[in-house]
């Protein structure tokens, strides 16, 4: 995929990504900004991913501050009409457990 990130083929449980729901980075994921975007490393699954531009990085880092993924995209300057590749990329991150639903983590805390 020539999209906004590359991630490994997801394994294990699959998460359905709902862009109208709230999401956050998995607490075991580290984000390292790079000139091209960012590197993501999941200490639990030992998987490495790449965010392929800085806007995507802003979206991912600000997910927690917004009620849902679409709002996070808008806040990062991505209009509704241009959101498709971003939401797709977020969906792939959710599938590989890099992102988790916000409520599920708030509930266990």
């Amino acid at each position: 995929m020539r999209g906004l990130l590359t991630v490994p083929t997801p394994q294990g449980e699959r998460t359905t990504f709902d862009p109208d729901a709230g999401w956050r980075l998995h607490p075991q994921v580290a984000v390292r900004p790079e000139p091209f975007g960012a590197l993501l490393y999941h200490f639990g699954t030992r998987k490495l991913s790449f965010l392929k531009n800085r806007t995507m990085l802003t979206v991912v880092q600000s997910l927690l501050d917004h009620p849902d993924a679409r709002t996070a995209c808008r806040a990062a300057g991505v209009d509704d009409g241009r959101q498709r590749p971003y939401l797709h990329a977020l969906g792939v991150l959710a599938e590989s457990n890099m992102l988790v639903p916000k409520q599920s983590w708030e509930a266990v805390r």
């Binding site: 590359t6 580290a30 000139p35 590197l39 200490f43 639990g44 490495l48 392929k52």
Partner: protein, 391 residues
């Protein structure tokens, strides 16, 4: 790791602000004497980094956000402070993957490892049978590795890695390795034999034949991400479609990976322990971060590279000319084909006629160091002049 789009490969070739991961050989001491040891290990170097110096490096890696280190040696677990350093690294957000021949993986250690979420264990095994393994790694090493796998499995440690260096004698055992790994719930990791360290002496006899390379490539493609490779087979990319081989298919030396050796010397990669690929020292050159960012060697490696004799080859985009260390230690030009080039361009001159650089250090057991030969001097004067013959 997944196949990565070309745009990102070009970014990586220009280097990152910090390595994605790095190899850290903690000691040259080893209980074994594998014939292909990439670091010519055996005896401890008296200048090896202190516990404090190691912790300082970990602090620096944490600041640089290096996600994990591949700890090796030598046999790293024979360092008395090994577990202390593992705990220190994981407590400082630096994940640890360590390679071992299994010598210290007792049931007790296995239970301790099973309790940690951030440590990966790679057990080295170079034959699916004791006969094939022990010929390379030494008598009893197969049993030792298997015992370690059993101890880890019994302790509930999941997903141990069984790490295999592909040789002429074991590439026909790949399916047997898979069965063996399955027995312990392990993941197979297959990597390329390099002519580095003592490997330089055995490479001609041990590296897989051209036919075996093809079979190996097909096996790796068929098994995809089920098998780890350390992304070490990019020189075989030309055997199939681009991206067919899982992983980051490029040379990461000095760009996204590097090596820190037991005395703090930084090299471009673990297979390149030679002055030509020496970037600096963490103690004497201002710390690891400084060496990583500013070493002239690393800057050179991140600049445009000449394709040399490979420039006209249609496969260059796939293999990028292959492995720098493999070329260097077999006496081939760096800007030319890999000695295992799938097009057969790697052997323009007979191997015997090439000048092969020697690895930087030899820590082998029983190796003879150059320099003055120590003489036993007797304090008693000779009883008669002719007792001490001058001839």
């Amino acid at each position: 790791m997944t196949a990565v789009v070309p745009g990102l490969i070009e970014q990586f070739e220009q280097g990152l602000g910090a390595p994605i991961c790095l190899t850290w050989e903690l000691t040259y001491a080893c209980n074994l004497a594998c014939v292909h040891c990439l670091s010519s290990s055996g005896k401890r170097d008296p200048r090896e980094l202190s516990t404090r110096a190691c912790k300082d490096i970990i602090d620096e890696l944490e600041r640089m956000q290096v996600f994990y280190v591949n700890i090796g040696g030598g046999e790293p677990t024979v360092r008395p402070d090994f577990w202390e350093l593992v705990d220190y690294a994981t407590a400082h957000h630096v994940g640890v993957k360590f390679s071992t021949n299994g010598v210290r993986i007792t049931p007790e250690v296995a239970r301790r490892l099973a309790a940690s979420d951030y440590v990966d264990v790679q057990i080295s095994l170079d034959g699916a049978t004791a006969e094939v393994n022990d010929a390379v790694r030494g008598y009893g090493s197969y049993a030792m590795a298997i015992r370690a796998c059993e101890n880890l499995a019994d302790a509930g440690f999941t997903n141990v890695k069984i790490s295999v260096v592909a040789t002429r004698h074991n590439v026909d055992q790949l399916d047997e390795f898979a069965v063996l790994a399955g027995r312990y719930g392990a993941t197979l990791r297959i990597t390329r034999l390099r002519p580095s360290g003592r490997g330089a002496d055995v490479w001609d006899d041990l590296h897989p034949t051209a036919e075996q390379q093809v079979a190996l490539y097909r096996w790796l493609v068929a098994n995809g991400e089920q098998v780890l490779t350390g992304d070490s087979f990019f020189h075989l990319s030309g055997l199939g479609e681009p991206g067919a081989l899982a992983g980051l298919n490029m040379c990461g030396a000095g760009r996204v990976v590097c090596l820190i050796d037991p005395v703090g010397d930084v090299y471009a990669c673990p297979f390149a322990i030679h002055d030509r690929f020496h970037a600096g020292n963490v103690l004497s050159d201002g710390g690891f971060d400084h060496v990583w960012k500013n070493s002239p060697l690393f800057r050179e490696l991140r600049g445009p590279q000449s394709a040399g004799a490979c420039g006209s080859c249609g496969h260059y985009d796939g293999c990028r000319g292959g492995c720098m260390a493999a070329k260097f230690f077999t006496g081939l030009p760096i800007d030319g084909p890999d000695p295992e080039c799938v097009q057969g361009h790697g052997a323009p001159t007979p191997a015997a006629e090439r000048h092969k650089p020697r690895p930087a250090g030899d820590h082998s057991h029983g190796c003879r160091k150059s320099g003055p030969v120590p003489l036993t001097l007797t304090k008693r004067p000779p009883q008669r002049l002719c007792t001490e013959s001058p001839v």
